[in-house]
Amino acid sequence: MKRTLLIIAITAVAATFAGGCSRAFTAVAPEGFATYKGGESFRAVSPGHIVYRVRTVANDPYAGFDFWREALPERMKNAGYRIIADSVVVCAKDKALLLEMAAPVEQSDYTYLVMMMVGEKRILIAEAAGEFTEVQGRKTEIVGALLKNLLK
């Protein structure tokens, strides 16, 4: 009996993890995107192959928003991305950094959008990328969705 209860409990926990309920964030996909189930990160994709991912990383070494707000664009620039826009927006009382970048991928030119929100223990990173014209055509809804993702 005890063994049966234990198996049921383990199955329930596994199902919770697979469903993404254990994630340290709440994620929203842009309208019309198909979402993947399970996994540590939240993933979605559009019919035009725009990819969308939300995840968190440990805030380690610990630093506040202002620190990471400077460090992230610097690292992206050094890695070879062209930064098109760099802005700080407030969503649900927290500051978020929104970066719009561009980079070549094989024969195409891609737009790469990154939203970063800094919490005490975790940092939320929401990313979207796709061929330039595809992303520009749906930019408003993608940016809108990026800014709805929140740390729990």
């Binding site: 690292r75 050094n78 062209r82 991928v105 790469y112 055509g137």
Partner: protein, 203 residues
């Protein structure tokens, strides 16, 4: 002897022009080249728009391929053109170069002046020469006229480059190096923010 005298006159004229070039920094001669990587949703419409704006600004197309448009634009219109582009699309890369060719320009002016002076002298000699001297003098005159025309042609090209900037607009990245995957930040998590890894996560 007469030829040496004429040659000396040419050198004096060149030296005078060089002096003039050195003293006139305000009259520096520049050629402007600007290049842009311009991203737009509708490339065909943008190409048409660029062509009509260039024409309206007094410029002209040099060549056009599916990837790039190259044209000349009055120097003073370049800033206005770049602002127009910013309002209709996204400029991801921009290069701007200003080459100084003041010395070349004044060297050309001096060369032309010297040759014109020589021609004048030869024409005077031709007037006073007898029948046996006509052939060599007229050959010299023909050679001089030929080189004067060549210099004038070069000068017209230089003046055009002086007054018109050369601008190219590319619709795709010229530098197609993919950003580095791992990055080189000391903060480990920052290196995980990269496009190739994001795309790989969906394969």
């Amino acid at each position: 002897m007469r030829r040496i005298a004429l040659f000396a006159a040419g050198i004096i004229s060149f030296a005078a022009a060089q002096e003039q070039a050195d003293s006139s920094t305000a009259n520096s001669v520049f050629h402007i080249t600007a290049g842009l990587v311009y991203k737009t949703i509708d490339q065909k419409a943008s190409e048409k728009n660029i062509s009509s704006v260039v024409e309206a600004m007094g410029g002209w197309l040099l060549n056009q391929t599916p990837q790039q448009i190259r044209f000349r634009l009055p120097k003073d219109s370049v800033d206005g053109f770049l602002k127009m582009l910013d309002s209709t699309g996204v400029t991801t890369d921009a290069t701007y170069a200003r080459s100084d060719f003041t010395a070349d320009y004044f060297r050309l002016v001096a060369g032309l002046q010297a040759k014109e002076y020589l021609l004048k002298q030869y024409l005077a000699v031709l007037d006073s020469s007898g029948t046996e001297g006509i052939y060599p003098v007229s050959r010299e005159i023909a050679d001089l006229q030929n080189s004067i025309e060549l210099l004038k042609g070069r000068m017209r090209g230089m003046i055009e480059r002086m007054e018109f900037a050369e601008v190219w607009v590319s619709f795709n990245f010229i530098d197609r190096r993919v950003p580095v995957v791992s990055g080189n930040s000391d903060f480990e998590w920052l290196n995980s923010v990269d496009l190739p890894s994001l795309l790989e996560d969906f394969r």
